[in-house]
């Protein structure tokens, strides 16, 4: 069966509508699963309509590619740990980027063969290749940083921005040369430089900015798809690419706002390494010393508390402590303690990552509160238990104008009556800024792996505590 190009265009329209409904569904928990199914249906229709169209004439390579991709993708999705979600997403972004590059190259070969090259097409091809290549190598770097294969610290050197600007200009120049002269050397060189550019653009971005970077690369992958759509004159790709591109851009904006930083600042800032943090306040605080506490100390206070607020951070995620926290929550609640979870928008390394981890541990939705909802409650809270969160609890963001994180909205943990922070070492968080919270009189640190400590708390509570 072969469908006409008009039927195909109508099918694409239906698919586009389904994708829009899918995204719309994701804006509310109640409709989210339906949204995902709309997305799947849209994709199925898009693929089906393409295969049945007159342009697709041979199926061997296609069937092989889809079959292999389906197996690999399904296994990845089924096996990935929720804590590794940022890495998976980064890896998937890189695949889209690379696919866009390959589609553009393949289109070039096909059109060249058919003698259908023209400057507009080659300009569009160049855009697809450049955006796709930047998405690919940028995502590979993000993946490496998230996976710990390369250091999360920003790599900054003198003249970096000049180098990037230069690389960008040369890449655009080569695209123009290619579009006007059909010179294949320009195509090759442009492709290579675009890969390099993705690398040099992401390498200076520090671990603290990863939630923004993940959304930004998400956005890039959308623009890459849209550029491919221009190349192929395919409206569906253009629509979907624009949707994804804007989704990522808006999430990046929301994440930046949660850190009180501009996107320019994120992209060019190099935030997340050994920063020149306002030494004045930190030096003062260091003299006061830090208190270390035992699991029993914390349990002693938590058991008799009216309200405990737990603040999870990436330390909880890497230690996989969410299940132990769930048990801790249940035991405390049996003792009549009210337990809530406070989530900072940029906790972890991906927007909303903590919500997913707590959901995985089956922690009830109404126990999990966003920053704005929970902040007024810290002042009347007996114990705040910080589990591997760092920068998002640092009062320096409010009190120390010289701090690099000054102005960033934080969780008001510092106001709780007693504060216990589970932490592996005295190393500062991603921002590289010392946390003034630790030097407060009412704050004690429990050194250790978040999971071990939380399990220790559970055991202590079961054993009757103190």
């Amino acid at each position: 069966m072969e469908i006409s190009s008009n039927t195909q265009a109508l099918a694409y329209l239906v698919a586009a509508v389904l994708f829009i409904l899918g995204l719309k569904g994701l804006t509310h928990p109640a409709s989210a699963r339906k949204g995902n199914f709309f997305g799947m249906a849209g994709m199925a229709i898009a693929i089906g309509a393409t295969l049945l169209g007159s342009e697709v004439q041979s199926y061997g390579f296609i069937i092989a590619g889809v079959a292999a991709g389906a197996v690999i993708g399904s296994v990845l999705a089924a096996r990935v740990q929720m804590t590794a979600m940022p890495q998976l997403v980064a890896a998937l972004h890189s695949f889209v980027g690379m696919a866009a590059v390959l589609v553009a190259l393949g289109t070039y070969l096909n059109k060249a063969q058919a003698g259908l090259l023209n400057p507009v097409l080659m300009g569009e091809l160049s855009a697809g290749i450049v955006i796709g290549a930047i998405t690919f190598s940028g995502s590979v770097i993000a993946f490496g940083k998230l996976q710990g294969l390369i250091s999360g610290a920003p790599v900054v050197f003198k003249g970096q921005h000049t180098l990037n600007a230069l690389l960008g200009l040369v890449t655009v120049g080569l695209a123009i040369v290619f579009a006007t002269t059909e010179a294949s050397w320009a195509l090759v060189l442009m492709t290579i430089l675009a890969f390099v550019l993705g690398f040099t653009l992401i390498i200076p971005i520090g671990g603290a900015d990863m939630p923004v970077i993940i959304s930004m690369l998400n956005s890039y992958s959308g623009w890459a798809a849209a550029a491919t759509g221009f190349t192929l004159g395919n409206n569906l790709l253009i629509i979907v690419g624009a949707l994804v591109g804007f989704s990522g851009a808006i999430l990046s904006f929301i994440m930046c706002r949660a850190m009180n930083r501009s996107i320019i600042n994120v992209v060019f800032g190099g935030f997340g390494g050994d920063s020149e943090a306002g030494p004045s306040a930190v030096a003062q605080a260091a003299e006061k010393g830090v208190k270390a506490a035992s699991v029993e100390d914390a349990i002693y206070w938590m058991e008799d508390a009216n309200r405990v607020i737990i603040v999870p951070g990436y330390g909880m995620a890497v230690a996989q402590a969410q299940h132990a926290l769930k048990e801790l929550m249940e035991l405390l609640e049996e003792n009549g303690v009210e337990v809530k979870f406070a989530i900072h928008p940029v906790a972890g390394r991906m927007p909303g990552h903590m919500n997913v981890l707590l959901a995985e541990a089956d922690i009830p939705y109404d126990h999990v509160l966003e920053m704005d909802e929970i902040n007024p409650e810290f002042a009347t809270t007996d114990v705040a238990l910080v589990v591997g969160a760092n920068d998002v609890t640092n009062p320096a963001a409010k009190t120390d104008p010289s701090s690099p994180i000054y102005g960033m909205p934080i969780l008001d943990v510092a106001k709780a009556r007693n504060i216990y922070v589970i932490k592996r070492s005295m190393r500062p968080g991603y921002s590289g800024v010392e946390n003034l919270l630790y030097y407060q009189d009412n704050c004690s640190l429990i050194f250790g792996d978040a999971k071990d400590v939380c399990e220790g708390m559970v055991t202590a509570l079961k054993g009757g505590g103190h």
Partner: protein, 99 residues
């Protein structure tokens, strides 16, 4: 109107739709949203199919296309399934609350 201009019209209007649709999203669903848009950006598979299956496609284009199809379909399947997995976890809680 030349095709490229039509494409530009479609592009700009779609940008507006994207802009208005995404703003309402609740922070707790940010990760599933990223995963879903990730799956959806696998729409480049359509481009990959057109390149691979084109009648004029030479062997080089076919091989390039094969890898494009492979990568994009990993993205499509992986993205949708992992989104579903995450949303199922959120769903479980909703049920409990209701009962």
């Amino acid at each position: 109107m030349p095709d490229t201009l039509v494409a530009l019209y479609v592009f700009v209007l779609a940008c507006f739709i994207g802009y208005f649709v995404i703003w309402g999203v609740t922070p707790s669903l940010h990760t599933p949203l990223v995963a879903l848009t990730n799956a959806i950006s696998g729409i480049v598979i359509v481009g990959a199919l057109l390149v691979t299956g084109a009648e004029s496609a030479g062997t080089t284009a076919e091989v390039i296309g094969f890898f494009a199809v492979l990568l994009a379909s990993i993205n499509v399947f992986g993205g949708f399934l992992v989104t579903n997995r995450m949303l199922a976890m959120f769903k479980k809680k909703d049920k409990k609350q209701g009962s």
